[in-house]
């Protein structure tokens, strides 16, 4: 691991230790925050008991589905918009202000459209995550060097070969940025939707635990959310690093 990596690890460990100490010495009241060791213990307990598997499963399906759909839709729409300058000029303001719209307020509407199931939450995730992928796709395609496309023609590649062998690898750095952001937005959108308005999933579990004064369970679930967010983000980051490290100019 790099020096930066070790420093990060050290900082996180020091932060957790400090929090633990503050909680144990009751500087932070147990009602406000339980010690991190307790969170881990409670989370392990929940996972062993298996009570929260349904919630985890539901959230995983929603986030995974939304992420997948956002990637597919984002790439297709991005490619179409990039290829059509006029369309691009027209939708640019929509794309640029999309993140300023709180998409979870559409939840009741989406329930009316899709019924009470996981679909409205997937829809919230898709609504939140797709624009990032669209923007990343447009940016990636913009940055394909024209000389490489000319080289493709000299090699007499077919359109499909050019797409796969030249365009995709050229756009990859930008696409990865889109992947990371899309995951973040899908995750945030789904959990927020569950938290505010739904009857299942991890987000709902946290809200429910809070309202029924099960503080330890609430913190255990928050820890789970934190671990997933940091874990997936870290995994995408590492994957990106492995693929792109050799071509850093």
């Amino acid at each position: 691991m790099t020096r930066e990596g070790w420093t990060r690890l050290g900082l996180v460990a020091a932060g957790i230790a400090a929090l633990e100490a503050l909680c144990r010495t009751k500087v932070i009241k147990p009602l406000t925050l339980v010690p991190p060791s307790r969170m881990v213990h409670d989370l392990a307990g929940l996972l062993i008991a298996g009570d929260i598997f349904d919630d985890i499963g539901q959230t995983a399906i929603e986030v995974g589905g939304a992420f997948f759909l956002a990637i597919v839709l984002g790439v297709l729409m991005g490619a179409a918009i990039q290829a059509t300058p006029r369309l691009r000029r027209a939708v640019a303001p929509v794309l640029a202000s999309w993140y300023a719209v709180p998409s979870f307020v559409f939840y009741p509407l989406l329930v009316a459209l899709f019924g009470l199931s996981t679909s409205p939450l997937i829809a919230i995730g898709v609504l939140s995550a797709t624009p990032a992928m669209v923007v990343a796709t447009i940016g990636g395609l913009d940055r394909v060097p024209r000389v490489l496309l000319r080289a493709a023609r000299i090699h007499r590649l077919t359109a499909a070969q050019t797409l796969w062998l030249i365009t995709l690898p050229s756009a990859l750095p930008s696409l990865f940025t889109g992947l990371k952001l899309s995951f973040a937005y899908a995750f945030i959108g789904v959990i927020a939707g569950e938290f505010i308005l739904s009857g299942g999933g991890i987000g709902y579990g946290i809200a429910y635990a809070y309202e029924s004064f099960e503080t330890p369970k609430m913190y255990a679930l928050m820890l789970l959310v934190l671990i997933v967010a940091v874990g997936v983000n870290g995994a995408l980051h590492a994957w990106e690093g492995r693929l792109l490290q050799r071509r850093q100019r």
Partner: protein
Amino acid sequence: MTRLFDSLAIVAGILLLWTGVFEYAGDSAITGPLQTFRFAANLLGRADFWQHAQATLSAFGYALAISAVAGIALGLILGLHRFSGDVAEPMLASLYTIPKVTLYPLMLLVFGLGVSAKVAFGVIHGMIPVILFTLSAVKNIPQVLLRTAKALHLTPMQTATHLLAPAVLPEIISGLRIGFALTFLGVLIGEMFASQRGLGFLIINGINSHDVKRTTAVILIVITASVAANGALLALDRRAHH
């Protein structure tokens, strides 16, 4: 001319989609465009609406000031000290991925019900992008600019105002634009849970009491305000980027 036409076509498309959704889902889920505009206009003429709007705006003002000042300061520090920046950047990106709404019980316990919780919500949403944009702006200052400053015998003050500020300003403005929108979002979310006042409260209250007419109108007003502010900042942003 075609530009105007295309913009109008987009607006028409949105209204058409809205109408379609309304026809399909019915008025238990959403009100139609015309009705919503009328009700929104009505709302805008009422004093109690403006009290809520006032509450949101003042919390937003505090939150934005904190997000901007602290965000730029932290971004500058992390950008100038390369190692700290490299350590912090992925951590900040991970924090950005956390659904911050789940932290609301904690916020409530720490700040209690009221303005400070809303402000805190605004700040945790809006500050990270400001930090990240500022950080990368400072990190990407071309070394040749600094060498030029030395060659021209500029004082540190002159270097800061004449070379560094113009070099980083456009990116910082982009960061502030996103920070602006997310801070607003954060305040609204804060109001939905940690407050009895504000536009966020109006929305959640409307949803819970199935007051579709009011909810749709408030959402329309909120989105319009947010998109309009974003459009103005976008224009500024474009000018800063030449």
